[in-house]
Symmetry: D2
């Protein structure tokens, strides 16, 4: 299914080397001021060619709103935004069209559909995330302007190195979207070295949702952490999802892990917020945060082995221009998905619990 969300719904289309990628946003609240610049700002955060540690491919990724906005405001009818593909070198991929690239989706796609768009991975390319970022840009704008909710993310670890210092202001100032200013320079060097070696590296992103209302999420199947997990695990290359300090908690005794509520003046909140702002599937009003593991870029330049569609084992070299680390460009995508989940949850909450 290429539709995401219950009420704030996005439906996505497009392949890496097709004519265009885009998204329809349905059920959008009307009367929101919106123009292409609002969306472009987020697209620019994920576009390639930004730095020494992203692919040097140049894509303008310029968006165009085709419907749903009239005289500068959303009309409440479906908003379609499109990005035409410009800089697509199809020949880069022709030498691997019969090969199942290691850790890529090629094999499954062929088994599923009986055919496969081999140009840059087709629909399995991370270029599909353009649609998510467009939808997320609009959701973020509404969350911020109407509900005072802010979403941001940063690179929490790369390889085995976990970065502990968090300087929020630094995140958007460095090409790795790290929040740890002190170690950044050294880490950048290592990543550049990997890139020069034709290799790549995995890592973990941490996403924060500041100032969420309490009461979001639904018991049972629609728990907020379940919706966030689906949203995050649906992003290409994501391999694990951890709510709050989830991994640590699962190694602890109850007497250690339990997080008491504390009353301070009029406010009741969790003492340590180790559960990441959600308990029993419902937001508590504490800041929501979670971690998302992103594997190393599968497309590396180093020689590899694999099999082809004729059932033969082959030696393989992937040319083309790839990110040595996916995290910096994945973070705007993860933020976008978080924004979609949040706004959808707010709309559901309004409809059910704030109806009168």
């Amino acid at each position: 299914m290429n539709t995401f969300g219950n009420l704030f719904r996005i439906t996505s289309f497009g392949e890496s080397h097709g004519k265009a990628l885009g998204v329809i946003i349905d059920n959008l609240p009307p009367n929101i001021k919106l123009c292409e610049t609002d969306i472009q700002a987020e697209l620019d955060r994920r576009k390639p060619g930004q730095s020494s540690v992203t692919t040097p491919r140049k894509e303008a990724d310029k968006c165009e709103i085709l419907s749903g906005v009239f005289e500068g405001k959303t009309t409440g009818t479906p908003l379609c935004t499109i990005v035409y593909n410009k800089n697509q070198k199809s020949k880069d991929y022709s030498n691997i069209k019969d090969i199942f690239r290691p850790s890529h989706a090629d094999f499954g796609y062929l088994k599923k559909y009986g055919l496969r768009d081999y140009r840059g991975g087709g629909r399995s390319s991370a270029r599909e995330t353009i649609a998510r970022v467009i939808g997320g840009a609009i959701a973020k704008k509404i969350l911020k302007e109407k509900f005072g909710i802010n979403i941001y993310g940063f690179t929490q670890s790369l390889g085995k190195e976990v970065f502990t210092a968090v300087d929020k202001d630094f995140i958007e100032e460095n090409p790795l979207r790290m929040a740890d200013k002190k170690v950044f320079a050294t880490v950048l060097q290592k990543v550049e070295a990997l890139k020069n070696a034709g290799d790549s590296i995995g890592g973990v992103a941490e996403i924060h949702i500041e100032n969420p209302p309490a009461g979001l999420g639904n018991p049972v199947f629609g728990k907020l952490e379940a919706l966030l997990a689906q949203a995050m695990m649906s992003v290409p290359a994501v391999k694990f999802f951890e709510m709050g300090e989830g991994r640590t908690i699962c190694t602890q005794k109850g007497s250690v892990a339990n997080d008491p509520f504390v009353a301070k003046g009029d406010l009741v909140s969790s003492e340590r917020n180790v559960n990441g702002g959600v308990l029993g599937g419902i937001s508590t009003g504490d800041d929501i945060y979670f971690r998302v593991g992103i594997k190393p870029t599968s497309s590396i330049s180093l020689p590899q082995k694999s099999a082809n569609i004729h059932g033969k084992n082959v030696d393989l070299e992937i040319h083309g221009r790839h990110d040595p680390v996916l995290l910096p460009r994945a973070i705007p995508v993860l933020e976008a998905m978080a924004a979609l989940v949040l706004l959808d949850s707010i709309m559901l909450q309004k409809a059910q619990c704030d109806l009168f």
Copy 2:
């Protein structure tokens, strides 16, 4: 939302101390032989009072099919199965009805709904998982009998201890659902000691789906790992989800993490299956496996601090009878959710890609 699945759909109802819990299974294939015994076998695997390391509460959890079966076969119309609550001591909970128990859903529920069924957690109680196990029992039966797919799970770690040996035959023979026979006795002693101390412990479950077809799952938002993540994170007390060797992969270089396809005779498969049987959201035909982190039981007997609905900080003692470790009884629930996702994915695949 209390409905799960696109085609094989379950809709759940019931509270811990209400009259009954149950589930409607919609879109069930017709002509499947089915009786209450098929379902009861799975319910018995999750019911309380089974051993020294589960709560001594006695619940028969006896299921009754109310519709959808005629002359021993499914009719294709909605199958409702119900479990009446028997052994509910409401007074156990009256002393905490105004308190937000640490790491429980109480606070969020009150904020969301403006009222709260405080008897045993109401809808937030893990008793709701009865509905999942019923649905999963039917899905498992179909998967096994019609598709040769087998699902099982075991306790992979408790606290900081990770168990490495896997003896599948041992899992259902021990009350901790461990697969590591050698260390079991020592671990059991530790868990019993925790129980006697009024404490609890977290851990990790590992779930395996043997012999899945290739091609399941949908690109983009319906990736198989995304659906599994939502399913697992929706189970009470789950704090993280890891696909295959996801945590390890995210610390590696691409040249190390990449898993080549290998042709052996007619068969192409992943060399090491570190991605857990799913690539780009689509199953590869390799066994699917993933890990699910479960926090320690929040209801412990040790004295705790917390706040109440009047905004006062209070001392708190939770009486009642609780599992010192949730994993053994959670595993059948996780298996059930995996079965629901798999069967639903098979139905979607049939409808779209095997239509003619």
Copy 3:
């Protein structure tokens, strides 16, 4: 699919001669005062055995709330209500178990599912409408108490006779749910004569929704008239749906059919409301009304011809006790479906357009 609604969602189960029928209502607003009496009042309006022109079968159709209500109020979690079947004479149907009854669902069910619950039609029996009436009773209560919206229906025609006078107070005072007091006695005699002759008669119901807000419904696929049409055509025995004066309008010239808006003081409304309160799929604030055609009861006592499952033509006599006219008992069902559509539309409207 046995689920209806986007936000105010009901999921239905049960067969005519199974153990029970029931419904889960999901996404119900919390904090609504609700008890079984509220629901029973509507169930009593549709139950059999009420008069000389309904089947003499006695069914208490007593409902029991199993979940979702705590201390007399809805909790916001799924509300399950059940009606156990009591007076089921399975032997009445055994003589026709191999026959495809004329104008009944038997043939299609067998073709679809490969088996068929022949006891009283199984899932195709109009007894399934109990679930709709339960859901509708709750929706009606919320519509009335929170939004001042009233829904009622009456028998607008029987056979070829169209009744023109409308006395709302008379509707619930007569067993045919007619609004035309003057002709009622004559019509009743005719219907009783049909019943004695073992025959039945079709007719048309007219449903009114008084005082709806403007702005409900969604353009394109979710037009309010489209949702109402689906809702009504999903009720057993319904054969046509007409919005407002739809049939007349479709025979007219635009210059005659067009209905100008008229400003009176602060209020703008349609001059004649011939479109039934909906234009372009969106409610205008004028009263909503539509007509629903209900065929004559297919189960008649007169001898008939048909075919059986062995491909033989047969003579057939249907014993049992049937309504000579379905309308009086169908009207509460149609009202219930209208209430479900309305409340769902209000919730959608709140979530999208009244979000801030």
Copy 4:
């Protein structure tokens, strides 16, 4: 909601005078040969400027496939097709931007959204049906090539005149899509006279689905007639829906209306098929047919009265170029909607009942 269908799903966007209209088709079976010509043929059947009885507006309505097709075949990933708007004279509408046109959606849209795209009705314009026709063209192709199912429609009545003769070959040869060759010339004259007088006329379309499989549709809420009713009533200007001979049946006695099954050789079918090929919501294998009432074009050139957004009553003249009768161009849209419902039902049937 701007998405239609459970499995074969279309999501639509675009306004009358926006940049473009289009549709995403999701869950499309892979490996179907498809090109723009396949779609264009159906679009050409609905486009304006075809004859003396359609609007003289010229719109090429040329479609472009943006995704989902690779090397001439569907890939199984979302297919987006777009039609850019070319011949839009926005000034035609500026004089009525503050007026609620009689029997138009203007008033409801403003009430719903708080703002309104007044250019040609914006999203409420029948130009949105382009998206339906695109989706339907693909569904029709699959139905025909893979299942031997044929769908066609014709003008069954205009004004008070009902046409009884049916010559299928004549339908696409005349601009009114009439099937009654004998009366056509006279009717055409009348329609041309209405057009010259600045007026319009309503009528009824009859749609046939030839050679459907038995067993389609779902009991209860997903009855095939309910899905068809929603589909048809969602098309602009539709005011009633009648299944088979529904209106006649509802005036009859059961002994007259009942339609016996008849066995002929191996085949069992309905004797007269008065129920239109569906009983109890499930197709019987008999041809499916139904009627759809279409009101006269609301945009007429004759002077009218109405109210404006300032609450004043006004005199009104609608300039611009409009169809004197909507039916000829609506029929391809109704066929498209029927095709979407049918293919979706086949996919659902496959997934549930033909799974093994």
